[in-house]
């Protein structure tokens, strides 16, 4: 750590900050809204995580232990919806809100009131979704993919779920518009597009993906609604509709959604690895082009999620090969991160540990994705626990670890205080051991033939399920440490210097610590921009 500048808390008194409930309810400051998004995401992670623990407790042994199969199916469905739309996506939006204006030298997001609206939609959306547990017919239980005809058999909670998904989609689209407009119009003079930190680039591309695909999900669920209540037959075979068409539409949204969840993670890792390697990022421009290539390819691979519906051979080949093609730009990224570390002066503070774990474990998830892309193999793996292991490796030690890396990395700048490095490292090791004990055995279960979305299973799967459940509880409870570390840092951490990480570059580190409530009221001068550009 380099103690370049001591904290100056005097400016805090000149910030004209609103106080009390109004500060949060009427918030237009990007930092306040970013904080609200992050706290909201954390709450959703814990609710969704509790559901995951219910699932793993039920699967600890064969036989039905605690819950009935319908409730089990609700747990898997709502766990997924909460983690994707309530956890990971708002966490990225929170980080974008906090960091993009600081990194591009803008005083705030371009549309602050829209920003407030985007956030405040979310608590209503998720309250509505969670209330479905208390209405006749219960919560959604047909899987997060909402495939008809199963999803159309839901009870009174069906319209609540559809409305909740519309609200989540609207929030994401408005947030994405704000990010694009901010980056395209609010950059300080001298901050060029190919001069921005990678986090801004990956978020810019993510925002375009969001605008293209969230409306597609909205269209799909609108059609489900009209099929259910207004007598249309979009997906009803008895009325001349086609349930497979829903799968095509859903996955046209669903696959880019995977990259919406992971591209900002690439951005964060591209910030952290150079900092703790004390070297500029290797191949900055290729990173940008690789991100754009991944985003483009994400639109032409959707049917690899549905090889088993029976599609023409040409279709199978096209979607198999296009999926494999994604490994090329992803490989470029992994190579560049390794090359950045090569001969670097590495240190292993908590953000770097999480970034390295991301690098190893996300790559495992990527490789099992390549296995799933092979059509004849996919016929065996489809709907098995192998798929569950694959996407959890991508999303937990992938997206979630990157979010944690980002929080540890920028927390000193946000709060003005350092976190406890020792407890941070304990949190890292418990998380990493827990996540691998939890998800790695699921590869074996899937290869042995255990289907996903079942509350009971054959005794042949008992041992690895027990191991997986033990990992789940280690991982789940170790996240309480994360809350402790953050809380402890904010309340009583040691004062953080302006640039707490020796190798950190970027405009955010040119601001005092904690970042003032109103930052970059005047655009940063060229000398500051030149000092901040470290790639």
């Amino acid at each position: 750590m380099a103690n370049t500048t001591h904290v100056d808390h005097a400016h805090v008194h000149d910030e004209h900050k609103p106080y009390g409930l109004k500060r949060w309810l009427y918030a237009t400051n990007h930092k306040d809204i970013g904080t609200m998004y992050l706290v909201f995401a954390c709450v959703m992670f814990f609710i969704g995580g509790a559901m995951a623990l219910v699932i793993r407790a039920e699967l600890f042994q064969p036989g039905l232990q605690f819950i009935d199969p319908q409730f089990y199916n609700s747990m898997t469905t709502v766990h997924a919806l909460l983690m994707i739309f309530g956890g990971v996506m708002p966490a990225w939006t929170g980080l974008a809100n906090w960091m993009i204006p600081l990194q591009v030298g803008a005083p705030d997001m371009a549309l602050p009131r829209l920003n407030n609206f985007s956030f405040w939609i979310l608590p209503f959306a998720f309250t509505l979704l969670l209330l479905t547990f208390f209405v006749p017919g219960g919560a959604p239980a047909g899987g997060w993919t909402l495939y008809p005809p199963l999803s159309l058999q839901m009870g009174d909670g069906f319209p609540m779920m559809i409305f909740a998904i519309h609200l989540m989609g609207a929030s994401s689209i408005l947030g994405a518009i704000n990010v694009i407009v901010t980056i395209m119009n609010m950059r300080a003079p001298g901050v060029g597009l190919l001069n921005m930190p990678l986090f801004c680039w990956t978020w810019l591309i993510t925002a375009y993906l969001l605008i293209a695909v969230m409306p597609v999900l909205a269209g799909a669920v609108t059609m489900l609604l009209t099929d259910h209540y207004f007598g249309t037959s979009f997906f009803n075979a008895a009325g001349g509709g086609d349930p497979v068409m829903f799968q095509h539409i859903f996955w046209f949204f669903g696959h880019p959604e995977v990259y919406i969840l992971i591209l900002p993670a690439f951005g964060i890792v591209s910030e952290i690895i150079p900092t703790f390697s004390r070297k500029p990022l290797f191949g900055y421009e290729t990173m940008v082009y690789a991100t754009a290539s991944i985003a483009f390819l994400s639109f032409i691979v959707w049917a690899h999620h549905m090889f088993t519906v029976g599609m023409p051979l040409a279709g199978q080949l096209f979607f198999m090969l296009s999926t494999m093609l994604i490994a090329v730009p992803t490989g470029v990224k992994v190579f560049n991160w390794c090359a950045t570390m090569w001969k670097g002066s590495l240190t292993f503070e908590t953000p770097m540990l999480f970034a390295l774990a991301f690098l190893f474990l996300f790559t495992i998830g990527g490789l099992s994705g390549l296995m799933l892309a092979i059509v004849p193999a996919d016929f065996q793996y489809h709907d098995s626990y192998f798929v569950v292991a694959h996407f959890h490796y991508v999303l937990v030690p992938g997206a979630v670890f990157a979010i944690m890396a980002g929080v540890y990395y920028w927390l000193p700048k946000w709060s003005g205080h350092m976190y406890n490095e020792k407890v941070g490292k304990v949190h890292f090791w418990l998380s990493t051991i827990g996540v691998n004990v939890l998800f790695f055995p699921q590869h074996f279960l899937g290869l042995a033939g255990m289907p996903r979305r079942i509350p009971d299973y054959s005794t042949q799967f008992a041992d690895w399920n027990m191991v997986s459940s033990v990992g789940a509880f280690i991982y789940g409870f170790s996240q309480l440490l994360f809350v402790y570390v953050v809380w402890n840092a904010v309340k009583s951490g040691a004062p953080a210097p302006q640039r707490p990480w020796e190798g950190a570059h970027g405009l955010e580190w040119e601001l005092p610590t904690p970042a003032p409530y109103h930052s970059w009221g005047e655009p940063p001068p060229p000398s500051v921009i030149a000092r901040g550009a470290g790639h």
Binding site: L111, V181, M186, P215, M245, I249
Partner: protein, 46 residues
Amino acid sequence: MTNEPVQADEGRDRSRRVRRNALVLGLVAFAFYAAFILMAVTGIRG
């Protein structure tokens, strides 16, 4: 002081650009929503 009108013009210009960009992006999003429903109505299969 002499720069103030210029800065105000730049500010207004940027506000206009921000609003225009946001509107265009909103319309693009709506077009995706409508196009996929229309595609399903007209029976084009994926």
